[in-house]
Structures are given as C-alpha cells and as structure tokens.
Symmetry: C2
Subunit: 197 residues, 2 copies
C-alpha cells in the first residue's frame, strides 16, 4: 500500500514559514554544503551537507506524487510550471488552473477535496510515496486519518512567529519513536504514526 | 559561568501540557521502563528506559537550582514542599508563599521578576546548572537573553491543543545543531543557543 508522508522543515517552535511566508531560515540546509544534488528542474540543484544530500536523493527516488494546497502553489508561482521533484503534483483548490500553466504541465487541479487528491496521488505514485508538503493539507490529512508518517526536518532556530505546521489537529495523535538523521543545520526525524493507540 | 538551561517535555506540535494542564502523554517516558532512578523525594522514583535513566541521573547531578513560575508551583502543589530534584527552587511570583509551606522548605519566592530570580538561582547553583522548567519563564528568559541551552525532550505525539512552550518569543533565536539522545517514547535534543547570530 502506498504510504502517505508529510515532509516539511520546521523550527523548534513549530513554524514552517515566517510571518511573511519566508523560508530563508528554514531552508538554509538546502544550500549550506558542497555536495550537489540535481533535481528534475534544470536550474535547481541543492548544495548540501553529505547526510542532507543522501536524504534528498532518497526523497527524489522514493516520492511518486505530491499533494499541495493552492496557497503553496501560488506562493511558489507553481514552481515555474515544473516541480523540482519531477513528479505529478495534485493541487487542492476551488479555483481553476492559472492561464500561464502549460496544458501538459504535470499539475492536476483537484476540486473535490483532500481525500480525492490523496486518492488520485496514490494512483499516480504507484509503489512510491505520496508526499504532502503544506501545513493545511497535513492538518486535513491528520483529521481524515490519511497520513502514515511525519518527516520533520527540524531546524535549530526559534522563529517566534509565522505559519505553524500543526494547528487545530484533533489530538492526541500518537507516533512511534523516530528514525533520526543528523545533518548540518537540520535534524531529520521520521515518525511513523501509530494508529493502534 | 553557570549555564542556564530550559528543560521540558514537548509534543511534536510544541505543547508542554494539554488543555487541562495534564502531562500524562508527555511524562509517559518517566515511567515506562524498569530502571529505577531515585530522587530527593523519598516517595518519588522514576522507572524508565536505560537512556532516560542515564539522562535523569545526569540532570539530578548537574542541576543546582531551579527557576519556575508561580503557575507551575501551584499546579504541582509546590511538589508537596520538596522538589524531586532536591535543589533550591526560585518561584517568580507577585504573591506570598502559601501558609502550608514550611519556613525552612527550599523554596524562595522572588517578587522582582525573572532576571532577579535567575541571578539568585545562579548564586545558589554555584558551578552547577540553573534549570528553567516552565513555559512562561522560558519565554521571559529568551526575551532577556538569559538562556544558554534548550533541552527538548521530544515526545512522539501530537496533542492538538494545550499549553505551548514557545509563544511570543522574539525571533529568530538561533541555536547550534543538537546533541541527541534516543530514549523510549522520548528523544532528547540539547540545543546550545547561538548568540553570535
């Protein structure tokens, strides 16, 4: 069964963006080393530390589809029409695709909610993972019981304010102890959710 | 120089207590093993996993004084007049000590704020650490630049609601990458704060 994972970079105090939607502090680890990881986007590579490069290569290999919110799509200008992970992106939205997006771009605009988007992404991902990369979609997946793992890229900073990853989650949601990968300016914690509790 | 550390058990979503001030989920690791750690309180021992026992013994050895808020003191009924860590406890409060507290109990009620309480605790701790164990005191110490390390006992649960450890912290406050100790139902992350950034 295809696993659904939520994977984000988070400050110690739980923010995944600052108050102006900026991610400079949280994404520092994507560019603070000298091991280059190529992406599906010809102009984007990530020069990181060795453990972070290993982890990025693994993600690029393992993830088969993404589910994102419309807010993130708009904030990133739809990643210029091509997501660096090179997989189909399912955008949960009530609005139509923007005019500038090429009709054959690998984005699917899903108008009937998160559950439908995750189902479509599972189909597209095949045996690979479905990745969730926005706070509101993570929260909705938690409410719907659709999430298998949380991948927390914990960045050693307190932002003080901004956008929280977890708000209005119906708790408690239990996880197992994490797998841990130490990087440079990031600690990766992979928590499998525990549905037996 | 005496270090000031804030040490709490926190959920993945940043809570140090649930909405009713309960800590059952977050303190599970204090009682989920069979290695007994004695405390200064004759009726309190902690049966934990091996790594958690090591970490508790180290804390009991290293911490020389505590600074807490009045809310925590009241919630715990002043730990029955004797804190399990067996060190002087400086309580930041505008109110007087409760009548039931023995005059020679190792609690000092500090009426002129967090900075004064931390200074007095430093004095009492000598070469040992000053521990901060409440959310509001942690936040005030961060605002005043009084904190040297954050000791995050990260518990694999999302509580969804409750008391957050970090609110209204003026960010960004940078830390160094953490030292990590893996326990059972708890991952200990020790972040030295980085005042050079």
């Amino acid at each position: 069964m295809t696993k659904v994972i939520a994977d984000m970079s988070m400050s110690i105090d739980g923010f995944i963006a600052d108050a102006a939607d900026g991610v400079d502090e949280l994404f520092e680890w994507y560019g603070n080393g000298d091991v280059e990881t190529a992406t599906a986007h010809p102009n984007i590579t990530f020069p990181t530390s060795v453990p972070s490069a290993d982890r990025l290569r693994q993600a690029l290999n393992d993830v088969g589809a993404l589910v994102v919110g419309r807010r993130l799509f708009d904030l990133t200008n739809g990643w210029g029409g091509r997501h660096p992970m090179g997989v189909p992106v399912f955008v949960v939205t009530h609005r139509a695709a923007p005019d500038w997006l090429a009709p054959d771009a690998p984005f699917v605009f899903v108008h009937d909610g998160v559950e439908a988007a995750v189902a479509a992404a599972r189909q597209a991902a095949g045996d690979r993972l479905v990745g969730v990369a926005s706070a509101s979609i993570t929260q909705q997946c938690l409410r719907l019981g659709l999430l298998d793992e949380l991948h927390v890229n914990l960045v050693p900073v307190l932002l003080g304010t901004g956008v929280r990853w977890f708000e209005k989650v119906p708790g408690p949601v239990w996880a197992h102890d994490p797998q841990i990968l130490e990087g440079t300016r990031v600690t990766r914690l992979v928590f499998p959710l525990d549905r037996s509790r």
